[in-house]
C-alpha cells in the first residue's frame, strides 16, 4: 500500500467510510455513555463496524476516537486511559483491514472552548490533543483526521499537536459549516477562506469539510474550497438533517442521492469522499460503485 498522500496524489478518488455513532448505538452503545469507552469494553463491536465499511468498499476506515482527546475523555472520567483508548481503537480497525485499507485516526473537538469565550487555555488544549495523536501514531495509524471543527483556533491547535506528537503521520482537517444568507460559516463565525488558510498554515496536508447540512450543500462548500486552494480535499457530508417520523429518527438522503452528489464532488476536484452522521454501509457501497464506475 502506498503512503496515503502518494495515493491521494496519484488518484483516483479515495472512498472513505460513513457514520460511526449510529452503528455503535445499533450495536448496544447506551445513550449518555462514552462512545470511546467501548474501545476498552467491546473491541469486537469496533471490528464489526470497520468490517461493515471495508466490505462496503471503503479504502479509508476511521477509528472510534472522535471524542478521544484527553480533555473530552475527562468529561467521562476516562482521561487517565487516553493512551489505551486510542491505541485499542487503531488496533481494532487495523486487525480488520490489515494493509488493504488506510486507518484514519478520528480526532473531534475537545468539548470545551478556548479563552476568552471559554475556560480552556491553548496549552491545555494542545496537551490533550497531543496525547491522543501520539497514542494513535504509536499504534500505527496512517493519517490523523481532525474533524467537525467549528473554531479554527481549536482546529489549528489539534493539527499542530498532531504534527509535533506524531511527526511523519499526515494530518487531514475538516470543519463544519452552516448555510447563512451571507454564505457558509461555522457556528463560531469561521468562513471558508479563513478555514482554508488557518488549516493549511497549521500544517494540515488535506483540508475540507464534514457533517453539516447534507450532501447538496457540500457540493457548494467544496466548490468554494477549490476557489481558495489546490491542496488535497476531503469531504464527508451527513445524510441531511435528522428528522423524526413516528418517533423514529430518519436521515432523508438516500444512498443513490448521495452517490450522485459524490460524483459532482469528484468533478470539482475532491480527493477523498465519505459520509458523516446518518450515512450507512449502504451509502458507502452506492458511493463506491458510482465513483469507481466513473
Amino acid at each position: 500500500m502506498k503512503p496515503l498522500l502518494e495515493r491521494v496524489h496519484d488518484g483516483p478518488v479515495v472512498v472513505a467510510d460513513g457514520a460511526m455513532g449510529s452503528l455503535l448505538m445499533s450495536r448496544g452503545l447506551e445513550p449518555g455513555a462514552s462512545p470511546e469507552g467501548l474501545n476498552l469494553s467491546s473491541p469486537d463491536t469496533l471490528r464489526d463496524v470497520a468490517a461493515a465499511y471495508f466490505e462496503a468498499g471503503a479504502e479509508l476506515v476511521q477509528t472510534n476516537t472522535f471524542g478521544g482527546s484527553a480533555l473530552k475523555l475527562a468529561l467521562y472520567g476516562l482521561d487517565d486511559r487516553t493512551e489505551e483508548i486510542n491505541r485499542r481503537a487503531v488496533e481494532a480497525v487495523r486487525s480488520v483491514v490489515t494493509d488493504r485499507a488506510y486507518v484514519s485516526g478520528s480526532c473531534g473537538p475537545c468539548g470545551r472552548m478556548l479563552e476568552p469565550y471559554g475556560d480552556v487555555t491553548e496549552t491545555e488544549m494542545h496537551e490533550g490533543f497531543a496525547r491522543q495523536a501520539s497514542a494513535m501514531a504509536e499504534a500505527g495509524v496512517d493519517v490523523i483526521c481532525v474533524e467537525t471543527m467549528t473554531d479554527v483556533r481549536e482546529a489549528a491547535i489539534a493539527i499542530s499537536a498532531a504534527r509535533e506528537a506524531a511527526p511523519g503521520t499526515p494530518v487531514m482537517a475538516t470543519m463544519t459549516f452552516d448555510p447563512t444568507p451571507r454564505g457558509f460559516y461555522t457556528i463560531m463565525g469561521v468562513d471558508i477562506p479563513s478555514a482554508v488558510s488557518g488549516l493549511l498554515q497549521a500544517g494540515a496536508d488535506i483540508v475540507g469539510s464534514n457533517c453539516g447540512n447534507g450532501s447538496g450543500n457540500m457540493v457548494d462548500i467544496a466548490r468554494e474550497f477549490r476557489e481558495h486552494t489546490d491542496a488535497p480535499m476531503l469531504i464527508q457530508p451527513n445524510a441531511g438533517m435528522p428528522e423524526t417520523v413516528d418517533g423514529e429518527v430518519v436521515y432523508r438522503e438516500t444512498p443513490e442521492f448521495m452517490a450522485e452528489r459524490a460524483v459532482e464532488l469528484v468533478a470539482l476536484g475532491v480527493n477523498i469522499v465519505g459520509g458523516c452522521c446518518g450515512t450507512t454501509p449502504a451509502h458507502i457501497r452506492a458511493l463506491a460503485s458510482a465513483l469507481r464506475a466513473g
Binding site: M25, M113, Y117, Y185, G189, G247
Partner: protein, 211 residues
C-alpha cells in the same frame, strides 16, 4: 450618547470592564438599578440576540457579551428589589438525561437572562425528575429542555409525562430545542413549544408565560 446607550454598546462588543465601570457610574448619577438593567444591559443583549439570529455575529461574540452582561448584573443584583427581578417570569432549563452537549442550552440561558427572565440552569445530563422537582420547588412556569443527540431526545417525553402524572401539566409549560429537534417532534411528545434557535426560544417562552 447617554450612559445607558453606552452600556448597551459596550455590552454588545463584549467590553466587560467597561460595562462594570459604566454601571457603577450610572448608579452614582442616581439612575434606578431597574432602569440600568432594562435600558442598558437588556437593551444591549436584545441587539446581540437579533444580530446572532441574523448571522451577523457568532457564538464567541454572544459568549463575550454574556460575560459583560454578568459583569453589570453582579453590581445591580443586590440593589434590585423583588418587584424588579420577578417581573418576566422564571424558567428551569437543562440538557436532558444522557446528553452532555450544553453549548446550545447555555446560549438559550444567556438569551433568556438577557431578556430579563429568571433562569435556573440545571446543567447537563439532567434526569426527568430533577426538571420537575426544580420547577415545583422554584415555582417556575416553564421547563426548557435541550438535546443534541437523536438518542437522548426521548428523555424530553419522559419529562412531559412526569408533569402529567404529578398534575403539573397546566401550571408548568414545556419548550424543547436542539439540533435534531423539530416542531413535529414537540407536537408528538406533547411539549407546548419548540424553539428553533436561541432567539426564537426567547420569543416562545415570552408567549408561553403570557398565555
Amino acid at each position: 450618547m447617554d450612559i445607558l446607550a453606552q452600556i448597551a454598546t459596550e455590552l454588545e462588543s463584549g467590553g466587560d470592564e467597561k460595562v462594570r465601570e459604566l454601571t457603577r457610574a450610572a448608579l452614582d448619577s442616581s439612575i434606578a438599578p431597574s432602569t440600568i438593567l432594562n435600558d442598558g444591559l437588556i437593551a444591549g443583549m436584545d441587539v446581540v440576540g437579533n444580530r446572532f439570529r441574523d448571522h451577523e455575529i457568532f457564538l464567541p461574540d454572544v459568549l463575550l457579551a454574556a460575560r459583560a452582561m454578568n459583569a453589570g448584573l453582579e453590581i445591580l443584583e443586590p440593589l434590585l428589589g423583588e418587584s424588579d427581578t420577578t417581573s418576566r417570569g422564571k424558567i428551569v432549563i437543562g440538557t436532558v438525561k444522557g446528553d452532555l452537549h450544553d453549548i446550545g442550552k447555555n446560549l438559550v440561558g444567556i438569551m433568556l437572562s438577557g431578556a430579563g427572565f429568571d433562569v435556573i440552569d440545571l446543567g447537563k445530563d439532567v434526569a426527568p425528575a430533577r426538571f420537575v422537582e426544580a420547577a415545583r420547588d422554584s415555582g417556575a412556569g416553564v421547563i426548557g429542555m435541550s438535546a443534541l443527540l437523536t438518542t437522548t431526545m426521548p428523555a424530553m417525553k419522559e419529562v412531559v409525562t412526569l408533569l402529567e402524572q404529578e398534575g403539573l401539566r397546566e401550571s408548568v409549560r414545556t419548550i424543547i430545542g436542539g439540533a435534531p429537534v423539530t416542531e413535529e417532534y414537540a407536537r408528538d411528545i406533547g411539549a407546548d413549544e419548540y424553539g428553533f434557535d436561541a432567539a426564537n426560544a426567547v420569543e416562545r417562552v415570552r408567549s408561553l408565560l403570557r398565555s
